[in-house]
Amino acid sequence: MFADIWLVTNKDLRIEWRSRVTLSQVAPFALTVLVLFGFALDANPEVLTAATSGLFWLTVLFVAVVAVQRSTAIETADGARRALLLAGIEPSSVFVGKALAIAVQILGVEVLMVGGVLLFYDATVESLPLLLATCAVATLAIAASGTLLGALVAGVRARETVLPILLLPLLAPVLIAASRAFDDALGVLAVDGWAWLGLLAGFGIVNALLGMLAYGPLLEET
């Protein structure tokens, strides 16, 4: 099982590395959005500081939509999904593998974005462990639900528009919880960031389990 997961993750990441779409398009996109938020808020330092966490995670959600769309495109092109199934890999392993690949890409972009936030928004890190843990847990939660919905819309004609409508409302709790945890980690608000992290973990576990169960039937249908 772990070998299969690694196989799928490795495959997706290698395709991504060869095309360099994440590096050359998604990361600049994320930084652009961060800069544009600065313009929109008139570069008002106080407002920017107060809004940093929310803007950060909103940008991550946009990045996630793009990453999931990429990941789905890889599978639908040339009937690669069928080939994966025929190769005898458990659908749940494919699910975990693809989710991990998406998570790695989003995490890569987040590292850049944390740098951007420190630079442009004048943010200061008060609790590094909380910051890192939030990034890790929230990203896994996003990747899990994103991978599930990516497989779900794969066979739909208007999948570019249907995916955001389905994914973004579902990720609303992640936006809320990760933003509050970041508020704590960046010292913006006096909230209990670790409690929010627990909520994030709960969301991630529930949706990952549902994804592992539903991935098989979804792959068979399309």
Binding site: R157, I165, L166, L170, L218
Partner: protein
């Protein structure tokens, strides 16, 4: 009534429809003239008679959709698939009405149409968006079985995440304008409670009425797709027959 009736009505739906109409009339009379006004809210409290039944309707519709989704994934039963789709569509309407009547009610009583700090308000809004997404997915078209599976997974995702959304919004806002529970705190007058009960029954009857009609529409659409497929097959066979009669096949 008879087999050649060209509509989705039947004796049961007509009875239900008549009951709903009478019930609405009774609800208007009771709601506006029967039930007493509230000490604090004055007559604005009369909004509860349309607001709360809609909110209950969401629960009923979501539960039906969740059960229908599970049954499709488990038994591959077209019947349950259509039930899930039907109740989701009616659920969107209940959800929209709950949000609308809630904000119209909120203006005179809370002094605002919308409050981001209120748990149930924000949770309902996110649920509304999810249901809209569900219907958007349904309307995308494509293979019927594949679409049923996709929709079932989305329906389950929505149902499973409602408690998490609720919890997150609750922590986030940490304050709520809503009454804790309108039904159980015992502050409501007897006639108010009775009117509320009438409202919930009327909404429930309407839900059943709409479910039956909407189910039959879904069933007819399913039949039409089958018929289209059959005629297409027959046409293809006819084409193949004429082709092979002209030249030697195999």
């Amino acid at each position: 009534m008879s087999a050649d009736a060209v509509n989705t009505g039947s004796r049961t739906t007509r009875l239900l429809g008549a009951a709903v109409l009478i019930g609405v009339l009774a609800l208007i009379l009771l709601g506006f003239f029967g039930a007493p006004e509230d000490d604090e809210q004055r007559d604005a409290v009369r909004m509860i008679f349309v607001h709360l039944p809609s909110a209950f309707g969401i629960y009923a519709a979501m539960a039906t959709t969740a059960v229908g989704s599970v049954m499709w994934l488990w038994k591959r039963s077209r019947w349950w698939d259509i039930v899930a789709h039907s109740s989701a569509e009616i659920g969107v309407i209940f959800c929209g009405l709950t949000l609308f009547t809630g904000s119209v009610w909120g203006r005179p009583t809370w002094n605002t149409y919308w409050d981001w700090g209120d748990v149930r308000l924000v949770t309902t809004l996110i649920l509304f968006l999810m249901l809209v997404g569900y219907l958007a997915l349904r309307s995308a078209g494509g293979d019927e079985n594949a679409m049923a599976t996709r929709a079932a997974v989305v329906g389950l995702l929505a149902a499973v995440n409602v408690p998490i959304i609720n919890r997150s919004v609750e922590w986030w806002s940490n304050r709520t304008l809503h009454q804790k529970s309108s039904l159980t705190d015992g502050n409501l007058e007897d006639l108010t409670l009775f009117t509320l009960f009438v409202g919930i029954v009327v909404w429930a009857l309407f839900f059943v009425w709409a479910m039956i009609h909407r189910f039959r529409i879904g069933w007819l659409e399913h039949q039409l797709r089958d018929i289209d497929l059959e005629t297409a097959l027959i046409q293809r066979r006819a084409e193949a027959a004429t082709e092979s009669s002209g030249e030697e096949s195999r």
